[in-house]
């Protein structure tokens, strides 16, 4: 499963039984920006190598290998 689809499913879909839910990873407001698109962009940048100004934000996404 592509990472973007995986994260959009596991973070944004599924049964919710408690009031507290995860809506973001590493401070990215996923609900506002559209999770699929943001993370697809992160994946693309990851593959092509981040530009200097994006390296810092990518470094804050835990678990994404660079």
């Amino acid at each position: 499963m592509p990472l973007a689809i995986l994260l959009s499913r596991v973070l944004d879909r599924g049964v919710v039984l408690t009031g507290e839910v995860v809506i973001g990873v590493a401070g990215i407001d996923l609900l506002y920006l559209g999770l699929d698109v943001v993370l697809a962009s992160v994946e693309s940048l990851n593959r092509s190598g981040p530009r200097p100004e994006t390296a810092q934000s990518l470094a804050r996404v835990p678990g994404i290998d660079r």
């Binding site: 995986l6 499913r9 599924g14 049964v15 039984l17 990873v25 934000s57 835990p62």
Partner: protein, 251 residues
């Protein structure tokens, strides 16, 4: 002891034979007519890609033996077995209804792109995307930077919103045709449009995504039919992903 919850299944759900988050062993806790698949966890786990992959692996493993449990969103943590039982017990009717709705089915995602050239709006659009990728405020900054005047800025916004409408209508039309073409192979459908006014939406021409709930025995035929649908439409690029646990059909 606290519990991280992966999925909720019907009684008889077998224990998934894969590691849970942080290498924990998943366990089953029976509540009423349902079974909760959980891992012991002292505190609410922070989301990381590794944990999210583990969460999904447990849910997928629970689906692998002929059961369709309800996948639970990452981050559902309960401080004690009593709290878990209270929450699940109080939602039994809804959980059992949803379990019946997805029984024997899995989710596929179809992503649709237009291969036709975008209309000429894209100055604002590309400016917006560039602004977003460099961490700036996406839409307004990108458009304003290239426009140079208030009138030009408003015109570029109007063109951009016109593009979004056109892409949305085109995407919905293709999704409806796809649903007709797949017919009884699909039990249920969720169209996932990009959020309106999302400056990053579809910079590569993606129109929308559609989630389909497909009976497991039709998985192979569904995939073939969906790909055939894409192959007969040169203006469309189509990707089929799945099968997945039915994340989109339980909320």
């Amino acid at each position: 002891m606290g519990w991280h919850l992966y999925c909720v299944g019907p009684s008889g759900l077998p224990l998934p034979a894969v590691p849970g988050i942080d290498g924990t062993s998943p366990e089953l806790v029976r509540v009423g007519s349902t079974v909760a698949c959980v891992s012991a966890c002292d505190a609410r786990p922070e989301p990381t890609v590794a944990r999210i992959r583990s969460h999904h692996a447990v849910v997928r493993a629970a689906c692998a033996r002929g059961f369709t449990p309800l996948p639970v969103r990452f981050g559902q943590w309960f401080a004690s077995t009593e709290t878990l039982a209270e929450r699940l017990g109080g939602a039994q009717d809804a959980l059992l209804r949803t379990l019946a709705a997805v029984r024997g089915s899995m989710e596929f995602t179809v992503r649709l792109w237009s291969t036709e050239a975008r209309p000429a709006t894209s100055g604002a659009f590309q400016g917006a995307a560039a602004g977003a990728s460099s961490g700036g405020a996406p839409a307004a900054n990108g458009a304003a930077a290239g426009a140079g005047s208030g009138t030009a800025f408003m015109r570029s916004l109007a063109r951009r919103y016109g593009d979004e409408r056109t892409a949305r209508e085109l995407g919905l039309r293709h999704a409806a045709e796809l649903a007709r073409s797949l017919g009884p192979l699909v039990r249920s459908e969720r169209v996932e449009e990009h959020p309106p006014r999302d400056a990053l939406a579809a910079p590569d021409g993606q129109l929308l995504s559609v989630a389909h709930l497909v009976p497991s025995e039709h998985s192979g035929r569904y995939r073939e039919e969906a790909r055939r649908f894409g192959a007969t439409r040169p203006s469309l690029r189509l990707e089929v992903h799945g099968p997945y646990p039915p994340y989109s059909f339980v909320t």
